[in-house]
């Protein structure tokens, strides 16, 4: 049954449908927009390299980089490249693989029904041959090489290897040239059949569309009718403390680039996850956002510049907070940040800052709803975490200072790690 819920504060209505296979469908009608976008995603990303198939007791372990490899390969169909078919329908398609999900999407302005049918069909029909799997290794190899030269990417993954000893979030999403060498058609198909079961997938559609028609299309095109049950995702339990405190790398950059972070292992789902993520974002902005005393001081001392920012990443499989940017002296910034965090944990956030930052975040959340693509992604992403993106309106309305201060005391007391990319010294270059 198609369910409907109105969010008055946001001026939005969400239509939700659950297919017999267990697949969830989210539809938001945006009147006046020309674009229509759809995201078809599986709750399967680079961290899912160990799992138990539904009903099985034994664990399966696979080489790193398979989720991303599959994303590349699904575009290739027995009767040609699916990109060309979308192209013929005037749509721009793409896909991405993250730590925890793989998503296939398109945006179009016309012929939405045909594009949606194509999306649902091709993701359900992989076409793999030994030959086309080998061919893809060249392209993915170049993608990996491209990221090896990307300082922002390297500083981030180097930090994750400091924060985590065991959890696969520490591994590059695409794997390495060595791990992808071991990927075969059989391994790809095995993972495909496990994770691309509709019960592990979701669809989001945003635009000026008819929700009933979207549901009719889903019922017509989704082939598997029964719910095959849950996949047992196996993530290692991290010990307290970081794997290493500091990691440095030399690259061709003009100024050092740094990123610090702390882990939050208290993973959850649903509204508690949404509240914790929001509380932590507000805390970080109050601590070192643009309006903070600390940001001003570091900026005016020339220790940070506009590239500085904070980020909270929290999903059911893992959670961490990061902050960083360019700095001529990352160690100095790290020391100042550690002192400020200790102070914040001791004093707690004040009521005025909390109210102001919460209001600003709510405004930015409302502004973000202009983007159909972003909204579709958030609907799927939050859906996989058993929560709803629009529930953020309620979170902003009801979040309390006490809640934020409790999260600060739980998360920011954890030991931090520091990742630095430094310029290659002149003499060596």
């Amino acid at each position: 049954m198609l369910e409907m819920k109105q969010y008055d504060r946001l001026g939005e209505t969400l239509h939700t449908y659950v297919h017999s296979s267990g697949m969830k469908v989210y539809i938001v009608r945006k009147e006046g927009y020309q674009k229509k976008t759809a995201v078809f995603a599986t709750s399967y990303g680079s961290v899912d390299n160990r799992f138990r198939k539904p009903g099985a007791d034994a664990e399966t372990e696979v080489p790193d980089g398979i989720a991303h490899f599959l994303e590349h390969k699904l575009f290739e169909q027995q009767d040609g490249n699916v990109l060309e078919k979308f192209s013929k329908l005037g749509a721009s398609p793409n896909a991405f693989t993250s730590f925890h999900e793989t998503a296939y999407h398109f945006t179009c302005t016309d012929r939405f029904d045909e594009n949606l049918r194509l999306l649902l069909d091709y993701v359900q029909h992989p076409w793999l041959t030994d030959e086309n799997v080998e061919k893809e290794k060249g392209i993915i190899g170049q993608e990996i090489r491209m990221y090896e030269d990307n300082a922002d990417w390297r500083v981030f993954f180097n930090l994750l290897t400091c924060l985590y000893r065991l959890h696969p979030v520490r591994l590059d999403i695409a794997g390495t040239v060595e791990t992808i060498a071991g990927i075969t058609k059989e391994l790809l198909l095995d993972c495909y059949h496990t994770f691309y079961s509709p019960s592990n997938m979701a669809l989001a559609v945003v635009g000026d569309v008819d929700p009933e028609a979207v549901v009719a299309m889903v019922n017509d095109r989704i082939e598997q009718q029964e719910n095959r049950g849950r996949i047992g995702k196996v993530y290692p339990v991290e010990q307290e403390g970081v794997a290493r405190e500091v990691r440095e790398q030399l690259l061709v950059v003009s100024m050092p680039l740094f990123l610090m972070g702390v882990r939050d292992d208290a993973v959850s789902t649903g509204t508690p996850l949404l509240r914790r993520r929001t509380a932590l974002s507000i805390a970080m902005d109050a601590l070192v956002g643009r309006s903070s005393e600390l940001y001003s001081r570091l900026y005016e001392d020339g220790l940070i510049n506009e590239s500085f920012g904070t980020d909270v990443m929290m999903v059911p499989a893992f959670g961490f907070v990061t902050w960083g940017g360019q700095s001529p002296d990352p160690d100095k910034v790290a020391t100042a940040m550690k002192e400020a965090v200790v102070q914040l944990v001791a004093d707690g956030l004040d009521a005025e800052s909390f109210a102001r930052v919460r209001r600003a975040h709510e405004g930015q959340f409302i502004r973000s709803l202009n983007s159909l693509e972003l909204l579709a992604r958030e609907l799927v992403d939050n859906g996989f975490a058993d929560t709803c993106h629009f529930d953020l309106a309620d979170v902003y309305a009801t979040l309390t200072l006490e809640e934020v201060n409790r999260v600060i005391r739980e998360v920011l007391v954890k030991p931090s790690a520091l990742s630095v990319i430094r310029p290659i010294p002149e003499s060596a270059a």
Partner: protein, 436 residues
Amino acid sequence: MSRKPCADAESLGTVNGIRFFRIRSDKFKTARTDIFITDPLTAETASANALVPSLLKRGCEGYPTSRLLELRLEDLYGASFDSQVMKKGETQVIHLSVAHVADRYASGGEPLFADTSALLTELLTRPVLVEGCFRREVFAQERENLLDAIRSRVNDKIRYASLRCVEEMCRGEAFAVHAEGSESDAAALDACQVTVAWEKLIRTCPAYIYFSGEMPDSDVQSRMDGFASMKRFPTAVHSGPVPESDEQRSVRYVSDVMEVNQGKLCMGLRTHVRPDSPDWPALMVYNGILGGDLHSKLFQNVREKASLAYYASSRLERHKGLMFINSGIESANREKAETIILEQLADMHRGAVTTDEFDATLRSLDTSFKATQDSQPGIVEFHFGQHMLGVEESLDTLAEKVSRVTMADVVRVAQRVALDTVYFLQPADNADSTGK
């Protein structure tokens, strides 16, 4: 379903040499004000102009520090103030904007548009000056940041290869000047020189102001009245696009060696199509077929067929009439990749384009025109690009012209596109950047 009317920029007239526009639409949850100021791009003025927006965001009389300004923006429901400097052809553009939730989302009933547009005006026209100049200490910090930004061009290797290609290709032309100017020019500036640059920008340079979204008419009028009383001595809009000679010269090959893993190829071409030319729509189609999207010749042949690269694409610089082809490849594959790219250019030249390639390009361009109308900043940028060229056609009109482009038109512009410079950022033999 009826075709939705395109979000046009309705002219509100010219006041004090400033052109005002209003872009109405109620589908967005936001409203915004955009100010563009233009000045010819020259090596002498670029760095000083580039520093102006950085200094303006350090505060104004009412909010004299960045922190007070940021606190105010948070109070305004997380409004954002952005300032940037860019180049469009041989024109330097200073862009200031403020974006915020539409007034209807202000739960306290605050007049957000009135407040933010007043704030933006104050930031532009009433910075904190000490003895008539920007504060020395603040100036020194921002000059250092600009120098860092100039030095950090090397950080993004794809962009760096493109910038180096432009430097080599347009040596001696104004377009070779970077939007932020050069390190030596920026280092030599003092606070008073930049104050003079700011005065010139606000008093004499051509300016364009756009109000987008839902807002009370009276608020728009009072904003315009504010500018009407400003002391301004506007100069005429400068001459516009630079004419291009059709003179052909031999292709230049340049490479730099760097400690990187992947080589970056950037090929610069001259299109000999002026930005206001009736051939502009045909050139857009040409670029789309060659390397504009996933269906394009470059993506299909360099990546999909030969597996040489993860990315291979082309893009146009409309205002200067240039086109750039970019791809990231292994050093050993350079010749192979270059050969395939040249073959694609040759195919374009002799009109070897399939109906599928042609039709897919038209559809893709049509989608992107329509999609632009779903982005508030996208609509503003499109109209500003048109207005600064003196072209008044709407998004719908341009889309209509593109839809009528024929293969013969594409072949005609293809005859004028000429390869000028091939730049390669080459990995050093012993490149090794493993973590220690």
